[in-house]
């Protein structure tokens, strides 16, 4: 609608401008005609009066001639006639209204007309007709006619033109607005509504009832577009559904394979001790071996049964890793305590176990036992990885974000600790699998392959992350990041240490 108004305004204004120019030219031209007309009339009147006055002046004298001029003034409404002497000085009321030097031609017997300003009206046309009177003094008839008729004519023309303009504007505006609405406004509104509807996501409706013009083409294009969008939508949805289905299938398969791996792991881990127990028990029952052998068999049975029990306990821990009694724990304290408990083990092995903790406390929300289990598992792992005089270092520190390379940086404060060793390291192809249940590279009896799985499970449940870096032959470094409970002013002496680097033997 606004477009239609704008269009019609421009058109009407154009027409009005043309009309105005035309009216102005008409007024100018006709004004000139009228002026010439007035001048001619005045001159004719002056000439006829001139003959009359000369005659009267000669026959009846000057006085009678002046009376005649007065009579002429009474008869003429528009023209004021006056007798003037041309030899009077400037400013004499009986002299001419214009300056004398302009009247040289009149003095020499020619007629002349002047336009003078008149404050009361729109100006005067003053015509001088020279008259030869008997006393030979230069005189003339001054005929002054007002331009008021010209002015009134001009006013009438302007009024008429304005009327025509107003009518034209009214008609033009109405017509153009109506036509604009019909041809521009309505189809445009329809299309705008359709586009809004499409934008709002409703692609079903089609635009109907638009004329067969450019608007119709646009409507057709929009219809095609929404049709294509509908199809694209449908195919995208179908694709997404297929992808979700495939993803679910994959997850199912993955779950199955995890379960399968777990089952195979359990089967293998439990199968061997069961086999030993069965065989030894059978020997005890059937063969009646000598007492020394029998005792040995019994010890073996006990050891293997304990192995099964350990696996079951760890499996339960694995399954239960999500639970636990979470309370604020000082990570520094828990680490120090756990490492103290493990020190005798390290000493017996001849290994060096060092712990570096900050002065301040670092609070995390965790179950104390689970947290101890995480630390113990990692330290035990490290102790098993090193040779007899190797070195294990535990460092507690605060990190502003997860500093592990190759991972997205998560801002926030983390209470972290790292367990590094200078042991054998882990081959790159095994790094990805070390957190899988029952994955172990250790000899049978040394590990069940559940420790790191359990550790990983606990850390994940606490909202943390565990990162591992390893260089085969140089050592490994496990770093645990746990969300910190509150801000701590200082992170102690460990802050400057680059903890993600495994301790290498040449560095010590």
């Amino acid at each position: 609608m606004r477009l239609a108004i704008r269009l019609s305004s421009v058109l009407v204004l154009g027409m009005v401008a043309i009309l105005a120019i035309d009216a102005y030219e008409t007024i100018q031209r006709e004004g000139e005609f009228l002026r010439a007309d007035i001048q001619r009339d005045t001159q004719l009147l002056g000439r006829s009066l001139k003959g009359l006055i000369v005659d009267v002046w000669k026959s009846s004298g000057e006085k009678r001639a002046m009376e005649l001029i007065g009579d002429a003034n009474r008869d003429e409404d528009n023209v004021h006639v006056r007798w003037v002497w041309l030899d009077t000085p400037d400013g004499d009321p009986s002299g001419p209204a214009v300056n004398k030097h302009q009247l040289d031609a009149v003095t020499h017997g020619a007629e002349a007309s002047f336009t003078t300003e008149d404050p009361q009206s729109s100006g005067l046309l003053v015509t001088y007709v020279p008259v030869l009177v008997p006393n030979n003094r230069p005189g003339a008839l001054e005929l002054a006619e007002s331009f008021s008729s010209l002015e009134s004519y001009r006013r009438r023309t302007i009024v008429r033109t304005l009327r025509v303009m107003a009518g034209l504007m009214a008609f033009g505006a109405a017509g153009v607005v109506w036509l604009g609405t019909l041809f521009v406004g309505r189809p445009l509104r329809q299309l705008v509504q359709a586009v809004r509807r499409i934008g709002g996501g409703d692609l079903a409706g089609r635009i109907e009832g638009v004329r067969r013009d450019e608007w119709g083409e646009l409507a057709g294009a929009l219809n095609d577009m929404s049709q294509q969008l509908t199809e694209a939508h449908a195919s995208v949805r179908q694709e997404a559904e297929q992808r979700i289905a495939a993803f679910q299938q994959l997850r199912h398969a993955e779950r199955l394979s995890t379960v399968g791996r777990l089952a195979a792991g359990i089967a293998h881990e439990v199968g061997t001790p069961l086999n030993v127990i069965t065989a030894r028990a059978k020997q005890l029952a059937v063969e009646e071996p000598p007492p020394a052998d029998a005792r040995g068999h019994a010890v073996t049975i006990g050891r293997q049964a304990e192995r099964i029990a350990t696996i079951i306990r760890q499996l339960l821990g694995f399954a239960r890793s999500g639970q636990g009694d979470r309370k604020p724990q000082d990570l520094v304290e828990v680490v120090a305590h756990s490492v103290r408990l493990l020190e005798p083990l390290a000493t017996r092995q001849g290994a060096e176990l060092r712990v570096i903790v900050p002065q301040s406390q670092m609070w995390v929300s965790a179950d104390a036992q689970q947290l101890e289990q995480v630390i113990t598992n990692l330290v035990m792992n490290a102790l098993q990885a090193i040779s007899d005089n190797g070195r294990v270092e535990v460092c507690v520190f605060r990190s502003l974000h997860d500093t592990s390379p190759g991972k997205e940086q998560l801002d926030g404060e983390y209470a972290s600790f790292s367990v590094s060793d200078d042991g054998a390291g882990i081959a790159e192809e095994n790094l990805e699998r070390i957190f899988e249940p029952f994955y172990t590279t250790k000899d049978v009896g040394e590990g069940t392959g559940l420790g790191l799985s359990v550790t990983h499970g606990i850390v994940s449940e606490l909202g943390g992350r565990i990162d591992v870096q390893s260089h085969p032959g140089k050592g490994s470094c496990f770093t645990v990041f746990l969300p910190m409970l509150n801000n701590l002013p200082d992170n102690g002496g460990c802050a400057a240490m680059q903890v993600a680097t495994p301790i290498t033997s040449d560095a010590s």
Binding site: A264, H268, G271, T272, V276, R280, T300, G445
Partner: protein, 141 residues
């Protein structure tokens, strides 16, 4: 009739098993049944035994005593029983091989059979049953 069957002394068995208790059980049973046993605690030792055999016969010319049977666990640290089987089947005249695996490991089972294992035993198995199979593959004269 192979050359092994003609020998008059007791059959020689190469045993690979990483669990010491289990190894003891099997070795004992084999010896009680009249076999000589070479015990190995991992896959690498098994391969070493086999390759030293190969070296001594072909390079030194000395007549090293061959094995009549190999019994090996599949899941062992380092080299697995399946890898050993891969090595064994490259040579003619190498002894039959019994593989021991965990039950339910269908893929390994199929693979072992396809590769030509003489028998596959799932843990836990009956040791007497294993001995019957051993007797069948390498009879004590």
């Amino acid at each position: 009739m192979t050359a092994n069957a003609l020998r008059t002394d007791r059959p020689r068995v190469l045993l690979g098993e990483d669990d010491a208790d289990m190894r003891a059980v099997l070795a004992e049973a084999l010896r009680q049944n009249g076999y000589r046993v070479v015990e190995c605690e991992d896959g690498l030792s098994v391969l070493n035994e086999l390759s030293s055999l190969l070296t001594s016969t072909e390079v030194t010319g000395k007549d090293a005593e061959p094995f009549d049977l190999i019994i090996s666990d599949i899941r062992m640290p380092g080299i697995t029983g399946l890898t050993i089987l891969d090595g064994v089947r490259l040579f003619d005249g190498f002894p039959p091989m019994i593989l021991i695996t965990a039950f339910g490991d269908a893929v390994v089972h199929t693979e072992a059979k396809w590769k030509g294992a003489a028998a596959i035993f799932d843990k836990p198995f009956d040791v007497d049953e294993l001995m019957r199979k051993v007797e069948e593959l390498a009879p004590v004269a």
